[in-house]
Amino acid sequence: MVKTRYRWIVLFLTPPLLIYLFFVVFPLLSSFYYSFTDWNGFAVDYNQIGFANFEKLFRDPLFGKALTNTVLWTVAAIVIPTGIGLTLALALHGRNFIGNLYKSLFYLPISLALAVIGQIWLWIYQPDWGLINTFVRAIGHPEWSTAWLAKPQYALLGVIIAWAWQQIALSMVIFLAGLTAIPQELIEAAEIDGANYWQRVRHVIIPLLAPASVVVIALAVINSLKSFDVLYVMTKGGPFHSSDNLAMFMYNESFQKYNMGYGSAIAVVLFMITLAVIVVYFRQSANAEHLYD
């Protein structure tokens, strides 16, 4: 009996485990190995060069730029979609059928690909007839119009806004689910005690949304670290690397310049950042767990 049980366990777990190990775990860890080599992507031979890639990396101004932009992106990801998503969720929670229709319209970008979203937003920023320039001309300030994504000072911001357009929807969906889970009695009790709407939001609803907030922020951070599609479609990290993030910088080094060893070192840095995020996430979600107990 026990023996057949273990036979089934092995039989059921082997296919997923093998595929996961072979195509996810093993490649993930191999990046560490390649980061100590000078492999160029094609050659059969390559050399072990110790920490040379990392030494070069920390002196590379492009890496500094990409790292700064990644941090900026992550901070923006925590602030913008969380704030706007929460506001929208509070406004639309528990409304009638018009509210539900609006919810669906706000959800819509979630099902769009970031490659499509990048394409759409290119036309928001388009210099000749893009939405922003059309608007500033319409309000009588043609001198404000510019080629937004061609300007190093605006390019990153422009891409982050396009990305946030989708992320807002995702945050809103999660906050709405969180709001539905809040026991109605708690809010009513606060109301009977004389708390006005803002006090209820501030002192009852937001603290009780902690589990949803942890998920929203974690998703925003992870998605910001992964972000590549929208950047690739909109600026490819340009102009002059002003909108590079780590993922784009790594792509350029590995698949445009074929410095795969160097690219692997960037991947290792990305791995370390992700690991730090995971540790923080599990601490926070463990704290949030106590709420409903």
């Binding site: 939405l131 357009w165 996430y281």
Partner: protein, 283 residues
């Protein structure tokens, strides 16, 4: 629900103000999507003359036929389906196997193994990019759709295992025991007793996996070189060369590329949302 609405908007005027404000907000928020629809119905000449943000002069589908015939939309969409459908089904199947075993057949270390499976959710796939590029070259699968299928099956295992294990933990263990008393083996219990009960979880995963795999861009950029193997997202991005100023054709392609996931969204929204909000609410 209606009584909370009344309470929050004490007067009729407040309600009108609220809906007017939200309508403006929804319109503003939808502008990017509206723009792409408008552009897809306009000729290049019309766009350069009056821009995108006016109603098209006539209902003209030329851009759509051009994207289909000249821009190979049909080929790209076929490739996307060829990757997405098998990868969705296989990743869910593997998640069912792992989720069921880790939930209903616990063993020493099964919890650690579960964490190990789920950890894959957190890491940006970019980290594994270079080794996988090499692996698929060595396997002779570079520039084939098989490479994309394998990648999406493998990278789908964490989320599928997570959601299936969570779902199975709500299915009474007594069902499995009843099956054993009736002489069923684990495979029969899983396929005949558990799977019919898991349809909601399978629907959640199917909508999520379909959408993510269909919308993926990174892997075909890395693993596909030839035009014949492009998925629709890469096909869309690569159009800029041939149709650099034909914004209408590009828009039509963007619409084509979005139709399958939009249909999933419209018809299975309930499951899609449930999958997205998974983990954010306890229980």
């Amino acid at each position: 629900m209606t009584n909370t609405t009344e309470r929050r908007t004490p007067s009729y005027r407040m309600a009108i103000f609220f809906y007017a404000f939200m309508t403006v907000l929804v319109l503003l928020y939808s502008l990017p999507s509206i723009g792409v629809l408008l552009a897809s119905l306009k000729s290049t000449a019309e766009i350069s003359e009056v821009g995108v943000w006016t109603l098209p002069r006539s209902f003209d589908l030329t851009n759509y036929s051009e994207a289909w015939n000249g821009g190979s939309a049909g080929l790209y969409i076929r490739n996307s389906f060829f990757v997405t459908l098998p990868a969705t089904i296989l990743s869910i199947s593997l998640g069912v196997l792992a989720g069921y075993t880790l939930c209903k057949l616990p063993f020493r270390g099964s919890n650690a193994l579960f964490v190990f499976f789920v950890a894959g959710l957190f890491f940006p796939p970019q980290i594994a990019l270079i080794p996988l590029f090499r692996l698929f070259n060595d396997l002779g699968l570079y520039d084939t759709l098989w490479a994309l299928i394998l990648i999406h099956v493998a990278f789908g295992i964490p989320i599928c295992t997570l959601i299936m294990k969570n779902f199975f933990s709500a299915v009474p263990t007594a069902i499995r025991e009843a099956g054993i008393i009736d002489g069923a083996n684990e495979w029969q219990i899983l396929t005949k007793l558990m799977l019919p009960l898991s349809l909601p979880a399978l629907a959640v995963l199917a909508t999520l996996q379909f959408t993510w795999i269909w919308n993926d861009f990174l892997w075909p950029v890395i693993l596909i070189r030839s035009n014949e193997m492009r998925t629709v997202m890469v096909g869309l991005a690569s159009m800029k060369g041939q149709y650099s100023v034909a914004y209408g054709v590009q828009s039509a392609m963007a619409v084509y590329a979005s139709i399958p996931t939009l249909l999933v969204f419209v018809f299975f929204q309930r499951y899609f949302i449930r999958g997205l909000t998974f983990g954010s609410v306890k229980g």
